[in-house]
Symmetry: C2
Subunit: 147 residues, 2 copies
DNA sequence: TCCTTATTGACATTGATTCTCATTATCACT
DNA sequence: AGTGATAATGAGAATCAATGTCAATAAGGA
């Protein structure tokens, strides 16, 4: 991993190691503050700036995905190496609950690849990633609808 | 339109009319500030708060889509009534350029409907909308890569 | 071990969005 | 058309995520 960091002209430091380690173990879509707070228990020294800088670095390295879900703060999730972990999001517009789903990924992937190829050629883009999300109202919010 | 506003327990006011009118005529993915500035020429009285509040209202009414593209500000686009306008986004992660594309919408729609149905049942969600976006590097940024 | 310099953490700053509240304007009802 | 209840507005303050500043620190090659 140290080598991977080198590629990005970076030193391997204790804070970076701690943040990467934490991300690789934690659940998905955490905000920077959540990461900072969780990390603070074991590593009280790590500051907010370093959390942001390191998440940005990890995103550039392709180890982490930055999500903008419209709730005023970005979220980050560790990108597992194996494809089996690939998923998209189902988001409740009322309470912000985020559900990962992985149905139809085979079919989706076919369409995505096809679209990518076409878009890359037509718009002369290098396509690096894609996001698919469904927005709606979750079970809980449906229940408390008429209050 | 006045009736539509009524449904959302709202009065039809001059600022709301101006903002809606502006949105329906303008290009896509504008930031709140851009909307405020453009509007300011003809309607100097309209404040920033009202722009935000009205965009939020229009979004709840389903007339406008709120986009979170990760650049620190939300963007808004008018949702045309006819389906022919349906599109998704191709976003440059370097410079933020946003391209609308509408390739493969028929195939996409099939997949999306299928996925929606499955997700709605499995997670007991009411699915109201979806977003698909591709991220990458645009033509211009590719060119100025090695500077 | 030493030296260069990338990295850090505390703090200040920015900038988008939301909140507050006195004032204004809409519209249902006369 | 006039009136009154109150929804909506606008100016400015407040909030809060994210970024910038900079002196102190630490990584890692020599």
């Amino acid at each position: 991993m140290k080598d991977k960091f080198k590629e990005y002209a970076s030193r391997m430091t204790a804070p970076r190691e701690a943040i990467l380690e934490f991300m690789s173990r934690s659940s998905t879509h955490l905000s920077a503050k959540e990461i900072y707070t969780s990390l603070h228990k074991k590593h009280p020294g790590i500051g907010m700036s370093t959390v942001y800088r390191t998440l940005d670095l990890l995103a550039r390295m392709g180890l982490v995905t930055k999500l903008a879900l419209g709730d005023g703060q970005n979220r980050y999730e560790f990108k597992a190496k194996d494809k089996s972990d690939h998923h998209h999001h189902l988001i409740c517009t009322r309470c912000g609950t985020i559900i990962n789903y992985s149905e139809f990924l085979e079919e989706e992937l076919t369409l995505v690849r096809k679209t990518e190829k076409k878009l890359a050629k037509k718009y002369n883009f290098i396509i690096e990633d894609h996001n698919i999300e469904f927005l709606g109202i979750c079970e809980k919010c449906k229940g408390s609808e008429k209050i």
